[in-house]
Amino acid sequence: MRNLRYILPGITALAFVYALLTVLWPVPDPVPAESWKAVEKLMNPHRPSGDLVIVHPSWEDGALLHFKKNFLILGRPNTDSYTVYPRIWVVLAHGAPEPGYLDGFHLDFREKVGDLEVLRYVHPDAKHVLFDFFTHIEDGRVTSVRDDDVKECNEFNLMRWWCPTKEWNHVGQRSVSIQKTWQSGIWMHPLSSRITRLEYKNVPMGKRLAGEYALSDKAADLKNIPPVVFRVLINGETVAIYESEAVPGWHAFEIDTRRWENHKATVTFEGTSKKDNMRHFCFLAQTRTDELGIPRVPKRNALPAIEVDPEREETKKRDEKQKRQKDTDDPDKDKDGDDRKNQWKRNLERRLKDHKTRREANKARREKQRESRKKSKPKASPTPSGGRGNKKGGKP
C-alpha cells in the first residue's frame, strides 16, 4: 500500500490546518441587547417568574443582564435541580445545538428571535399540575410566628423570602444535597419555638395536593435531634401533619383535596422544630387534577407516600374536636370560630397569671430563706474559736 506513506504527513497537515483555523477564528461577538429584549418580550406573557431558563452556550453570559427574576442557568446544569420544573425555557445563541440532556421533557414551542432561538420544554406530567408551589414562590407570603409575635418576611430576593429574624432564615428556592445529589426545593428552615409559615392565597385546587419533603443529607445524618414538624392547612384547616425522619431522601405525601376541587383556597405550609440547629428542611408541592395514588413527577430517590395511620388520625380528630369544643366554650371566641383576634388577650392573661404565681413563689422562697438564715445564725459560743473553728484555735 503505497498510499500509507501519505498518512503521517496528511494527518499532520490536516491537524495543522484545523488547529490553525480554530485558533485564528475570531471570537463571536456577544449577542446584542436587542435580541435579548426581544426574547424577554416573547417569553414574558407565557411564563411565570419561577420558570427555569437555560442558556446555551454556557459562555454567553449576556443573559445575566436580562432574566433577572427567573432562575437562570448558563450551560448544562451541573445538578439535578432542573428536574423539579414542569416547564423549562432554553435560549440558544451562536447556533448552539439543542440540549440533549432534558430527559422526559418534550419540546412544545420553538421560535427564532433575532440572533437567538427560544425553545420551551414541558414535562408530560405538567398537564396534571394546576399550581406548582415551587415555581410560584413569589406569590407566597412568608411569616415567622411566635404566639402574638408575627414577623413578616417581606424581602424577596433571589427567589427567596428573607426573614428579619436570622440571616439564614429564608423561605424559597434553593438547592440541597439530598442523597448525594443537588436538588431544588422550597427551603424552609424552621426556627426553634417559632413557626415559619408560607401561605398561598387563591390557589386553584384539584383532586389532590401532592409533594415531597426532605432533610438535607447532613441534617438527616444527625440523630437525636428533634424533628421538623411540617403542617399543611387548607383554608385554615389542618389537613396533614408530618414529622421529618432521620432518613435521607425525599418522603412523598399526598392530601385528598376533592372537597375543594374546582375552587380556590388558601394553602398554608408551616414548619417548626424544638431546636433549629441543622434542620435543613425543604419540600415540594403541587395541586393536581389526577387521581389519588398515582405517583407524581418521577422523583429521584423518592420514598413512597406516607400511609396515614387510621388510629393516629382518629386520635388527632378527637383532639381537634375537644379543642374546638373548648374554643366554643370560650366566651371571647368569635362566632366564626376565628379566635386569633382574641388570642393576645388570653396570652396576656396567662402571662399575668404566670407572673403572679411566679412572684408569689419567689416571695415565699425569699421568706423561707430569711427564716433559714435566722435559724442558722451562730449563737454566741463559749469559746473564742466558735463552732466552726478557726486558724488559731483549730477545731473545738
Binding site: 500500500m1 506513506r5 503521517l8 488547529a19 485558533v23 424581602e155 434553593r174
Partner: protein
Amino acid sequence: MTDDFNEKKTPFAGQETGEHGDRKEMEIHRPDVNAWTGDACEVETDPEADENPEEERPAAEKAEEPETGKIIDVPEEIPAGETQSGTTDSEFSSEDNAPKTETPSFSDEDAMGLPDWLDDDAHRHPETDFQPESAGVELAEPENPVEEPESDGNRTILPDLPSAAPEDAAGKEAPPSVPWIRRFAYPLTGAALLIPIFVFLVLTLDAMGLTDDDDFYVPASKNYILWAERAVKGLFKGEIKEFRKSAVERGWRSNHEHPSVAKLGMGVTWLIFHKYLDWMGEIDAARLGVILFAMLLLYLIFRFSWETFGPRVAIFAVPALVAMPRTFFHMHVATLDIPTTATYFLVFYAAWRAEKSRLWVILAGLLYGIAIGTKLNGPFVVFPLVLYCFYRWRQYAVLKTFATLTFRRMIALGLSMALLSFPVFWLLWPWIWSDTIDKLQAYFHFHFHHYGIRLLYLGDVHLNPFAPWHAPFVYMLFTVPLVILVLSLNGFWHGLRQLSPHNLKYFPKGPGAKEDYLLHCALHALFAISIVAFPNNPKYGGVKLFQPFFPFLAILSGYGFHRLVERLSMLWPVFAARRKMLVPVLMLLVFLPGAIGMTRVYPYMLSYFNSLAGNLQGATEIGMERQYYDMCYKTTIEFWNQYAPTRTKVSYEPNLGEYRRTYPWYKRDGKLRNDIQTGPPNEADFMVLTHERRWSHYQELVQQYRNYPVFHTERVWGTPLYTIYDLRGDRKKKPEKKRKRSLRKKNRKMSRKKVEKQDKKKSSRKKTPPIAVPKSLQMKKPSVGTQENRPAPKKGKAAPKKAP
C-alpha cells in the same frame, strides 16, 4: 558475525530484502547494515509497503535500479562525504528501492535537514547505538570507497559528545578535520535551547496566579530549610540539639502528608534568593526552585533524546514540553508536580544509562529514593521499568550477547533500586526518622484514602465516586496542542510496534534499535497516565496528577516529527533538497497553532484547551473545567492595585476560604496594596465570582449576584473567567463612625497615613520586574459592564446572606 547471530538473523533477512534470504547477499545489498541495528528506526514503518514493494513501483524506477544482490557502485558525480554514512534512510530504499546515492538530499551532511553539525548520524552514541564492528559484523566494503575523513567507517562519532560513558570517550581524540562547531554541537545546542527557556520561565514567573497549593508548600519549604540551616550551623558548633526528636518534628511537621525533596528544593532557592540575597519575594523565590526542577527535566529530555534519537528529536522534544500550556503553568508554581516529574524522569534516565554503566546501576537506586521522596508518583516508575526489562530479557534470550541490557544487569538494577532507595528516602525525610512505621502507615493511609476533590468532566461534577477512568485520557487529548499530539501518537505507534509478535520473535532491528527506547518511553507514558485512571484513584485538577506523562509525550512527539521530516523528504524532492532551511520552518509551523493558543489564554494557562475540544469556548460548552486550583489571578491583584479605592474589602466566590489564605502572600511580597482586605461577601465592596461550575452552588451564586452592577468581566478567548461585581451600592451601610472603627480594628489600628507610609516603603523596597505581557493582553479599563451601563441596584435589597 557469530554463527549464533546468523542463525537468528537468517529467517527475517529474506523477508527484509524481498526474495533474497542469503546472508551474504543481504550484507552486500545493504551497505547500511548499521540501519539494521543502530539506524533501524529508519526502516519503513508501513508493513504493507515492505511486503511487496515491487508491485507499486513504476516501471521506470525498476529499470533504473541496480540489481539486488550486487554491490552498489557509487557514482563519481556524487560529492564525497555524501554516500557512506548517508545511507541511514533505509525507509527510502525499502520503499522506492532506489540507491541512496542517487539522492543527494540524503547525504550525510544534511541528512536530517539540519546544519551539518546537527546531523543525527554524526551524533550517534557510541554506547547506546549498536556497533557492528564490536558485534563482529563484517561490513561489505564498496568497490570504490570514497574517502571521508569525518567518518569512522560507517558512522561519524563526535569526540566531544558527552557520551553515556565519558570515561570511554575521554581517551579518543577528535579527528583533526572535524570543525569546531560540530565538536561543540551538543553543548551549544543545549545552551541555545535551555538558557532562553530558563529566562522565559523566570520572566513569566510573576504573571502566573497563586494557587491554593502554593500556600501549603511554601511555608513547609521554609520550615524545612530553616531547620536544615539551624542543624548545619549547630553541627559546625558541635551541637546536635536540632536532631532531637522534638526539634525534628517541630521543623518537619508542616505538610507532612508529602515527602520532602521538592519542598527542600523550593526551600533552598527561598533561602538564597529571598532570605540571603533578598532579590525576590517569598513566593517567587520558592517557585524558582520548581523552575530549576523543570530545567533539570528539560536537560534530561534533551540529553536522552540527543543521545538516543539524535539532535532533531532533542531539539523538538524540549520546546514541545514547554509548549504544553498546562505543563508550562506547572513549571511556575510551587507545587510538587514538576519536581516529581523531574525525579521520575531522572530514574528513567538512570535506568537507561545503567544499561551500559555499572556506576549508573548504583545511581539508579539512589535516584529512585529521591523520586520516592518527592511525591507518590515516584514509586510507580518501577512498573514500566519492569515491563521494559521483560522486553530486554526476551531480547537477550533471542540475541544472546548482542543485547544491550543483560539479565545480570537487570537483577543488579532491581537490587539497587530495592536496597538503596529506602535509606535515601528515609534520610531525606527527617519527619520519619522517629516512629518510622507509624508515620509511613499514616502517609500511605492518607494517600490511599484521599478525600475527593470536585472535577467537572463532560458536564458532570465528580466528587465521590471519582471521575470515570477515561477522564485523564480525555483531559490529555484536550489539553496538548493538536499537532504535537498527532506527532506523539505516531511516536507511540512506533514504540508499541516493538511489542508485535514478529519483533518479539526475531528482533530484526537488533539490540540497539531506537524503537526499543521509544517503547521504553511509551511504556512510561502509558503507566504514568494509567495510574491515575484507576477507578479508586482520585481524579481532579485537570492534568495535574499525571504530569510525569508529558515528558515522554514530548519525546514521542519529537520522534513523530523526525518521521514527518523523513516522509516529507521522501515524498517531496524539493523538501529533501532544501532540508536545512525547511526543517526549522516546519518545526515552527508545528508549534505555531499551539503557540497562538497559548498567547490567547496567557496568563491563564490552565484555561487552555486545544482545537479538538473546540478551544476554550468549546470545552466550556461540553462541560470541562475552565479553571481550577482556586487561582488567585495576578490580574485581579493588578486590578485592585489600580482601581480599588482605599481600604477596599474584596470577596471571592465560590471558595473564599482559599483566597483568604493566598492573599497575605501577595501583601507580604509587596505586590498587593496593604489596605486591601478580604472578607465575606456581605461585608465586601467588590466580589469576584470565578466561573467554576464544579461548585454546586455556582448556579445559585450566578442568580445571587446578577442584580449587582458588573464592574469588570475578564474574558479569555470569548469566555468569561471571572466577573467582578460592585457591591458598594447595595451593601448594608454601617454608621460611618462604627464602620471606621471596625475597619481600623481590622486593619490592626493602622492609620491611613501609616498604611500609605507602609505601601510606599514596600514599593520602594521591592520593585517587581514588569510582566512580559503583550500590550493587547494587558488588562484594560473595563469598557463593558461598568456602572454606567448597568442597571442600578434596587433600593431596599439586602446584601446577600449566608446560609447557615
